[in-house]
Amino acid sequence: MIINFKGAKTYLGTGGKSLDSTKKTLCFLHGSGQNHFSFVQQARFFAYKGYSVIVPDMPAHGLSDGNPCKSIKENAEWINDLLVELKLKNVVVIGHSQGCLVALELNKIFKNTLEAIIFVAGSNEIPVNQYLLDLSIENPQKASQMMVTWGHGIDGDMSINKWPGHSHYGEGNNIMCMNKPKALNCDLNSCNDYSDGIDAAKNIKVPALAVLAKNDQMTPLKSGLKFVELIENCETHILDCGHFLPSERPVELNSIINSFLLKLK
């Protein structure tokens, strides 16, 4: 659905169902250079399971207009304001990659308290090398292509996909190309500059789930495992794939998330 939020056209994926603030809401936060299409196999799945789902395209991403947020904190404030605007209270936030950092900051400021936080391919820090930062200004398309290649495991290389006929690389590149040109650089800088992750992780008091990837080259497994140790009682799973868990292992990821959500009830 499209809303006007903070003066800009803003798209919220709802998984093909209407948003219902009386239900438990799953708020999916996309990663750097991504948008709601990266959660295509989660949004519909959970919307049809009876949850209210929102997958916002952050400003300048996907089908949203506006200027990209310039820090993780700014992203978190934007999401916080959106949840308030939509009067959503029973919220479980699910972040992927950069979305995990945003979730950490959102947890600090969301007044109604998040019901749970789910980290997909997450860490408390996501340093970005200078070459990629520079390339994201000079040639965002090439930078996107490199991220798509690094980000996928062997299924990406070999065009293996449980979604018949779909190519991880071809689809991934096009998803990233849908964003406004400056969005990727702002995202990558936001990740690179973020340094409050350790304290933010230690302060999590709500149920937490982390799903990490064995062959993750963007937020390496080693970093993810250190991160989950910072969180009290974080349920952790490791899947055999690359960074793009939502598209590489949708069935397994959905199953893990679903089981976790059922325990919350």
Partner: protein, 431 residues
């Protein structure tokens, strides 16, 4: 470790890794109509397109999906869908994008069945087409109307071998927010990948060079994922609420793969032109050697062109790699590896001479196909394009004396010897 595998590697591997259960190195043929659901929830999630998977082979099948994913990888597309033939692919694309009252701009120099579909069949359903010279981008621009929903052409025209200036035409389509749909059968992704030149949708007859062995009919649509379907007034059945799945917007839900999602949910579901898993397997066997075959096809084509150009019995030879071809410069630019292995030529003596030639060859096969590993030929005026009027024939660049040759992979000396024998028979006739 992630790798960006190259074309030759993808031709062999894309779409399949040995499965952990059986270790099968070859892509298994899943000769099944349907798939057992583990639960009612799983069944519902497949029907609702919540996640990927297979529910019925008319919609998708694991063997066919391996082929689709290989094609998507080779073309650099977002997604692909294989179907029963190239013509089925074309109809699926048109029916997914157009509704009654819509308009198409298409090349006037195309395969007869493509012209037939657009000129005679689709108007019965309210979709009209204006045909324009594919070598004239400005004419294409002028033909676009407010209700035009796609521009269609063949990268290498069949059988006239006109080359579309894809980058120029793509620019026009892009400026008008109209998808450029290309039949890329004659070039295959080995010779040219249209998405790199700005095209949006590719259709293939897999029966030809991709399959390459003349044993299986098949078609495919490859979706570039690079077209914005967001204009609800222009593309209401893709970006607006669709009757399927409770008013789904394919664009908002599936973005880069909206078109393929719609075709699978509507076209495959309602029309049912599915590809058999066994044919998908055969076509994949062909694709495994596509790079090797295409190199040899081009090598033999260049040799046969030289032979024909210098032959006293040949009136004219047409191939885009010849400097005399009107689209030679475009061909050099967009098809640097070669412009395919179809050669058109005219024999001195006209229609009767052409007939005699075809009936005198022994090695080359007289049949209605192209792109086989074996050398094939046909007289389009009396076969593939016989239903066209003289005017339409002329418009399509066809002449009575024209022979369409699909150069195969035989030893080049054996092909030329075969042709020499046939020319001698024609010479006797001419006397």
């Amino acid at each position: 470790m992630s790798e960006n595998y190259k074309f030759d590697t993808l031709s062999l591997h894309a779409g399949h890794i040995p499965d952990k259960e059986t270790g099968s190195r070859a892509v298994p043929i899943y000769q099944t109509t349907s798939y057992v659901f583990n639960s009612t929830e799983e069944a519902a999630s497949l029907y609702n397109m919540e996640v990927g998977g297979h529910l019925y082979t008319r919609i998708s099948n694991p063997t066919v999906a391996a082929l689709e994913q290989r094609l998507a990888a080779l073309e650099g597309g977002a997604s692909a869908l294989a179907c029963s033939s190239g013509m089925a692919a074309m109809h699926l694309v048109i029916s997914a994008i157009c509704s009654s009252g819509d308009h198409i701009v298409a090349s006037s120099k195309m395969y007869g069945a493509n012209i037939n579909l657009l000129q005679h069949t689709m108007p019965r359903f309210g979709v009209k087409t204006d045909f324009v010279n594919p070598n004239d981008p400005e004419a294409i621009k002028r033909a676009i109307k407010p209700n035009t929903k796609l521009v269609f052409g063949e990268v290498i025209g069949n059988p006239g071998l006109d080359i579309m200036d894809v980058p120029e035409i793509a620019k026009i389509c892009n400026s008008k927010n109209i998808p450029l749909v290309l039949d890329a059968t004659f070039n295959t992704p080995y010779l040219m990948q249209p998405f790199k030149h700005g095209a949006n949708i590719i259709v293939h007859s897999l029966t030809k060079w991709l399959g390459g062995h003349g044993i299986a009919i098949g078609g495919a649509i490859v979706n570039g994922g690079n077209f914005d379907w967001g204009d609800k007034d222009k593309f209401p059945t893709i970006s607006g609420a669709h009757f399927a799945l409770g008013g789904i917007s394919f664009w908002e839900e599936f973005g880069p793969s909206a078109l393929i999602a719609k075709i699978r949910a509507e076209g495959m579901y309602n029309f049912g032109p599915s590809l058999s898993p066994t044919n998908a397997f055969h076509l994949m066997q062909g694709i495994e050697t596509l790079p090797l075959r295409m190199k040899k096809h081009i090598e033999n084509t260049h040799s046969i062109i030289e032979f024909l150009v210098n032959h006293e019995m040949v009136e004219w030879v047409k191939h885009p790699d010849l400097e005399t071809h009107p689209d030679h410069e475009v061909a050099k630019r967009i098809l640097p590896k070669g412009s395919g292995s179809i050669v058109a030529f005219g024999i001195k003596g006209g229609r009767e001479a052409g007939k005699a030639f075809i009936e005198s060859v022994q090695l080359a096969s007289h049949l209605a196909n192209v792109g086989d590993a074996k050398t094939l030929l046909i007289h389009p005026g009396s076969t593939t394009h016989s239903h066209l009027s003289s005017e339409a024939m002329k418009e399509g660049g066809l002449t009575d004396d024209m022979i369409r040759l699909s150069v195969g992979l035989e030893d080049i000396n054996d092909i030329t010897k075969d042709f020499e024998r046939a020319f001698k028979a024609v010479k006797k006739l001419n006397k």
